[in-house]
Each structure stands twice: as structure tokens, then as C-alpha cells.
Symmetry: C2
Subunit: 454 residues, 2 copies
């Protein structure tokens, strides 16, 4: 298995040999994740040639398997006719996700070459923020008129069977002449009444629906409260514009979590894949690191202020990074708990006092325990009890500061509409470093004569 | 709004007043997240009294709104008859999730008091790992026999309408006498043929299915390849045992992400909520921190080795934490990219060399740039070019080490079946701290005479 030729090498060869038929059947046999991995190992030129050698349908399948960022990069580099032909084959939500990753000029160029009706629909979807109901809805659902009969529905279902096979048909939506949402039907409801019955007679009137501007959190709450298989989305005039499925909500929450995770780790400005150009990967990472260097200078300047104390008791230098690192870890734990509770709605940004009360207690207990351990370690290592007391009490004090700050920081940032994932880490590290250095060195300067004979 | 009485105070009062009727209607009017937040603010005693004052159905609704960990804690403390009555009202997946969080004795005590058939089913579900098809499937689906006619199905649907309203009825499953999966039907398929037709005539035979032991990743790949609304799960004898819905997969992936995020932040051993008892919160955080203290001691001992160098050029102390912190940040970025690519299947644990090649380049570029910045800062600050060269080149070297190590560490850990989320952070920090201290102090010792007159 390991010795087998990797699929991307076969793909490369088929591209070079211009063998479209073999290429198509080889690509179709790969699983979506194998496709994604293989595409990512090709050069950009090969990727473009590959897509132009496949039929638009097969190229669209490839586009659906790779990440939206990668797909957008690739499609932008194609002639717009070819791009439009492929994009028309994507499902409405994929299409909008990929177009949404491009700049406006590029997406407009492609839309201009697309089928008018598809383009009109895509433009409507693109006007919505990606995380609201309008951005998460699909256009593949079944809609009938109040005057239609059951027979009309059955005839339509029979006639368009293959097209509808991918549709979400748990519910049928019923609209009036102005396309306003009038009712909803479950497919069961068609099984029993006579075929001449009008839908208006059997539909559930005033069905649950969500406004097109409903936020992701509102939609999450909606599906928590109502265990439905989809919800119709209406615009300000109550016209039916789409359907949101619960999967789409889970997927959007998933994406948000990924973003949080990456931002917490210092990957900002969108996802990074190792197949992206070296300089853009390096540059994006640097943009965050260079902000961090400034914060680090601020924190380290505390040490510069106490240089004489440190020079007099050089052993302290061993404990400076220990105190600041350990407190940083304690603070990160509190940040994670707060971010989790915020995202679950278990705590609100205004409930600072409640969180403070909860974290102060943990900070005190963990501070005393960790401080005592470090005190013991320092005494055992260097044989000076005062040194132990200085670094132990510094760690205890700094643990209290960092746990408390870590607990409330995400709430404060959220209240000021800043992203906790982006700002909590660097801010917390800077403060815990500064305080850690300050506690160790200022406590030491108080008992300096006891330390210098170390 | 802010001045309004928080819902949990009203709940407390109603509990104290023993007013079940008012309590029931008040709780029913809350949204799931309001319920969760309110429950978390009550004392444990109040929580137990609340559940005993509600009907089992309403108590089950409350249990579904709170986290599984909280629910399990609460249910464990109840008399087992009462717990069983509530648990019987939960949907099969919720029931198993909550029972799965309890220890075996506690869950067995409750199962013993439950309806025999429900208990048998729950025991079967509990035997599966939570992240495999058997652990993710539901038992609320529609199943008929090959000999049934369309009329039999319609009669059953009509008779059990209210019970089935929550069911996943995009597909009907058809089994033979031995309960082996024989076919699948879409509800449309019932609309057209005569009512006397046997299901075996119209069903799709040999339908797609997954084994009950299929892993989460296999299920993800399955739903990527097949855009279905659910897949039947079969045991080793090909008997139909449940149905897995795509939402369940997204939800399980979501849970896994949460766990990764928490572990990366040092919250291990399951979720922490601030409503948990203080000592268990504090203790669980300490268990991770105390491992970290050991790693910190190892890293800091490098400084102790070079104490004389540091004493001779005390200014270096300012730059020690800067170099190690900055490199830690660079390494974390690489860890995040690797973990993301691993989870998307874009990179395999064995592709160390490929990742290494990609990260070395970023490490060199970012190392040179960050090193030059720090060199400039150090020279401007302390007026000593040699100091700038020492700390700048130490940061450059350490950035290269940490970026490269950060990139490959998750792959190595994964290969040795260790959890990258748990181990990458502490291991990376220790190594980057050690190397950072070593580079600064060993480079400094090479040019010490140039530094001492600072």
C-alpha cells in the first residue's frame, strides 16, 4: 500500500498524456478526501489543466471535494466561460460558498457568463452574510401553489423524479400568488385524501419560518426548540426565499469552531493550507507574530526595570520563565472554559461578577498549591528558603491574576464586540508575563539581602 | 431587561413554594439555552427537587436541554425509579449519551427499573463505542417486512401518525424474516403503484448500508460520497439495527472539535462547567498543570547551566523569555495547520518529509525576518550590536526549530496513537523553551567579552 504510486502521480501522468477519458474515470474512482489530497499535491498549472480536461459536471464534483478557499483560487484563474460552465453544475450552497471567497470583480465576471436564472439566484444569496439564514439556505426544495391539487403534486413529482432525488422533500412548501409562504405539508399528508383535494385544504397554515436575516445563534436556538427537518426562510415581505436544513447549521457551527481554533493558535485571515504559495503562508503567519513581538517587548521591559535585583540574585533568572509560563497555562484553561460557556449560552457577557466569583476561588486554591510546589522545588534545588518563598508566592499571586483574568477576558472582549479567539491569548500572555516578572522581581527586591548569598 | 428577575430566581421561588403547576408552565416557556443556563445556576438540591416536581416528560425535556455530563450527574443522584421514568421519555440517542456518562453500576440500576424493551435496546446501544455507527445511530425509523403491501404501510402510518411525527421518514427500510436488511423505499415510491403491491416489488434491493462498527471517519467519508438523508446500520449478520443521520455525524465531529479545543487549552478529562463543584474543577485543572511544572523545570534548568554567562551579561535575561515565547507562538501556528490538515485528510501521518519540506521554508523565512527585527530592537535598546546578533540569531534558529517541530509533531503523535491535542502543546513549549534558552546563552557565551561591557 505504502509502496503504491500515489494517486496524484497517476493524475499528473494522465494530464501530461492528455488522456481525458482515463483521467475522468480515475478521478471518479477516488473518494472525496483522496481527491482533495491529490489535488493539493498537483502544481497550480496541473490543477487548471485537470479541470479543463474534465466535463463541467466532473469538474464540479472535484470542486465540491476541495476546500472553498482552494476552489475559489482555482476558479478565479480560469477563463470565465469555463468557470461559469463548472459553477452552474454546483449545488446552490456550494456555488455561493465558492463565489463568496472570491473578490467581487472575479465573481461578477463568472456570474455574467452563467445562466440568467442561476446567476440571479446566486446574486440574491450572495447579498446575505454567510452566517445568517439567507446565507445558509438552499434553493433545492419543493414549492407548490395553494390552488394546486394533490394530483398536480403527484404529476410534478412523477415528471421530475430524477431532478428531485437530491432534494430535501421531508416537507412541501405552499405559497400564494405573491409567493408568500402560506402553508407546509408533510409528504404523508398526500397519501390519504383524494387526489382532487386542493393543497390549501390540507396544508398546515401559518407554518413556522425564520426571517432571512436570522443569525446563526437564532437558528441554533430555533432547531433546539423545534425538532424539524428544515425551516422555510422568508424575506421582509414574507415571500418564501429558501429552506435552511439543520445540517447546514451544524456545518456552520463547525466552521466557526475551526476558525476559533485556528485564530487561537495564531492562524488569522482565513485557513492556511500547505499547498498555498510559500510567501503568502509565511506573510500571514508573520502578520500575527509581529504584533506578538511588540507585546513581548512590553512584557520583557519589566525585567529590564529590575535588572539590578536580578543581577544581585541571578538564580531568579531560572524561575522567571517558569512563573510566567505556568500562569499562562492556568489562564488559558480559564479562557477555554469561558469561551465554551459563552458559545453554549451558559454565561452572558454581562455576568462578569459571577464568573469572577467562580474563578477567584479556583485561582486561590490552584495558586496556593502550585506556589507551594514551586517553593519546595526552589528550596530543594538552590537550598535557600527565602528564594522558595519569593518564587512560590510570586507564582501563587500570578496564578490568581491569570485565572481570574482568563475567566473574564472573553466576556469583556465579547462585550466590546472583539473576537475572544483572536485577542484573548496574546493579551493574557502579555499580562501574565508582565505580572509574573513583576511579582518575582519585586518580591525578591524586598528580601534581596537574604537572596544574594545564594 | 437587565433589571428583570433572572429566571433561575423565579424557579427557586417556585420550588420553595412547591408550586408544580406554575413551575411546569414557567419551565416550558423557557428556550433550551435559557433552561440550561437557569438549571446551572440552581443548587444541586434545587435541581433534584425541580426534576421531581415536573412530570417525567417535562423532566426529560429539561434533561435534553442541559449537557450530558450535567444530566448524568443529576440523574445519578435520583432514586432509580424516578430516574428510570424520566429516562424512558428521552430519545434513544439522548438516553444512551446520558447513560454513557455514568459509571456502569449507576446506569445498570436505572436500566433495571426501565421498560424491558427500552432497556434491552439501550443496553445494545451502550455496547458500542460512542463514535462508531452503533453509537451514533437512532432507533426511531420506519421498518416494514418484504411481504407487507403499500396498504399495510399506509394503515400503519395513519394509525401511528403522532408517534411517527418525530421520526426520520425520508426512507422506509424493508427487512426479511430474519430482520436482515432487504431493501429501501423512498416515501414517493408509495404514491404511484396500486395499494396491493408488495414492498418487495417496488423497493430498491441491496441498498447502501454501513456496518455497526464503522468509525466516525468512515461515516464522514460515506456521507461525503453519498448525499443521503440517512444510512441503515447492520450488524455482522446483516440485520438492521439502526439508522445514522448526517446530522449525527456533524454533531459528533463538532463534539470532537470541542474536545480538541479544550485539551489544547489544558482542560482534560472531559468538559468543565463553572457549576461543577469547586474542588473537582480545581483538581482537574491542577492535574494538567502539575505535569507542566515538571516540563518547565526541565526547560528552565538550561538557564541554571549557563548561570555564569547570564550573570556576566545580565541584559540577556530580558531576551530569554522573548525568544522562547516568540518561538512558542510560531510553533503553535504550525501545529494548528498540521492538526487541521490531518483532520481534513489532506496529509497522512506518514508524510513527515512532505510537511518537513513545507515547514522548513516557512521556518527559515520567518526566522530570518523575526530574528532581524529582534536584532534591531536589541541594538536600539541596549546599544550593543553583538547583543543584537546573539539574540537575533538565537530567535532565527529557534523559530526554525519550533516551526519544523510544530509541523511534524502532530503527525508523529498521531502515528504513535497519542492525541496531538493533548501532547503537542506541552511538548512543543518545553522543547522551544529549552532550545531558546540554549541558543541565547550558548551564542552569548561564544562572544561573552563583547557583551560584558554592556
Amino acid at each position: 500500500m505504502d509502496k503504491a504510486i500515489p494517486p496524484w502521480e497517476t493524475i499528473s501522468e494522465l494530464i501530461a498524456a492528455k488522456n481525458s477519458v482515463a483521467l475522468t474515470s480515475f478521478i471518479n474512482a477516488l473518494s472525496p478526501s483522496e481527491t482533495a489530497r491529490s489535488i493539493s499535491r498537483l502544481t497550480e498549472k496541473e490543477q487548471l489543466r485537470l479541470l479543463s480536461m474534465l466535463s463541467p459536471e466532473d469538474a464540479a464534483d472535484v470542486i465540491e471535494d476541495i476546500s472553498e478557499v482552494q476552489a475559489a483560487d482555482l476558479v478565479e484563474d480560469m477563463p470565465s466561460e469555463q468557470a461559469a460552465a463548472i459553477m452552474e453544475e454546483l449545488s446552490s450552497d456550494h456555488l455561493v460558498d465558492v463565489l463568496g471567497e472570491m473578490d467581487d470583480d472575479a465573481s461578477e465576471a463568472i456570474l455574467a457568463k452563467m445562466d440568467k436564472e442561476d446567476a440571479r439566484e446566486a446574486r440574491m444569496f450572495l447579498e446575505y452574510a454567510p452566517d445568517c439564514a439567507g446565507g445558509l439556505m438552499i434553493s433545492e426544495f419543493l414549492v407548490y401553489h395553494t390552488n394546486d391539487t394533490i394530483q398536480d403534486v403527484l404529476t410534478d413529482l412523477q415528471a421530475n423524479r430524477s431532478e428531485y432525488s437530491d432534494y430535501h422533500v421531508q416537507y412541501f412548501y405552499v405559497v400564494d400568488q405573491e409567493h408568500k409562504l402560506a402553508g407546509v405539508l408533510r409528504i404523508h399528508d398526500l397519501l390519504f385524501p383524494s387526489h382532487e383535494t386542493r393543497l390549501s385544504k390540507i396544508m398546515l397554515t401559518s407554518p413556522l419560518c425564520v426571517p432571512d436575516k436570522a443569525s446563526l445563534i437564532e437558528l441554533q436556538v430555533f432547531f433546539e426548540e423545534h425538532h424539524l427537518f428544515g425551516v422555510p426562510v422568508v424575506d421582509d415581505a414574507k415571500r418564501l426565499v429558501g429552506v435552511v436544513l439543520p445540517d447546514a447549521i451544524e456545518e456552520a457551527v463547525n466552521k466557526r469552531k475551526t476558525k476559533t481554533f485556528l485564530r487561537l493558535s495564531g492562524i488569522i485571515g482565513g485557513e492556511e493550507f500547505r499547498t498555498m504559495p510559500l510567501l503568502s503562508r509565511s506573510g500571514r503567519r508573520l502578520s500575527w507574530l509581529s504584533m506578538n513581538i511588540v507585546l513581548n517587548i512590553i512584557a520583557a521591559s519589566i525585567i529590564a526595570l529590575y535588572q539590578d535585583t536580578l543581577a544581585a540574585a541571578i538564580t531568579l533568572a531560572v524561575f522567571l520563565p517558569m512563573v510566567s509560563d505556568m500562569s499562562g497555562c492556568s489562564g488559558n484553561q480559564a479562557v477555554a472554559v469561558s469561551m465554551r460557556e459563552l458559545s453554549l449560552g451558559l454565561v452572558r457577557p454581562k455576568e462578569l461578577i459571577w464568573v469572577l466569583a467562580k474563578e477567584v476561588k479556583v485561582g486561590i486554591i490552584n495558586g496556593i498549591i502550585l506556589g507551594s510546589i514551586l517553593c519546595g522545588v526552589a528550596y530543594a534545588w538552590q537550598g535557600n528558603a527565602w528564594l522558595g518563598i519569593v518564587v512560590g508566592s510570586a507564582l501563587a499571586a500570578n496564578t490568581l491574576v491569570s485565572v481570574t483574568l482568563g475567566g473574564i477576558l472573553p466576556l469583556i472582549l465579547k462585550r466590546f464586540k472583539l473576537d475572544p479567539a483572536l485577542v484573548s491569548g496574546p493579551l493574557l500572555t502579555t499580562v501574565t508575563d508582565m505580572c509574573g516578572f513583576f511579582f518575582v522581581l519585586s518580591f525578591a527586591s524586598l528580601v534581596l539581602p537574604k537572596l544574594v548569598n545564594v
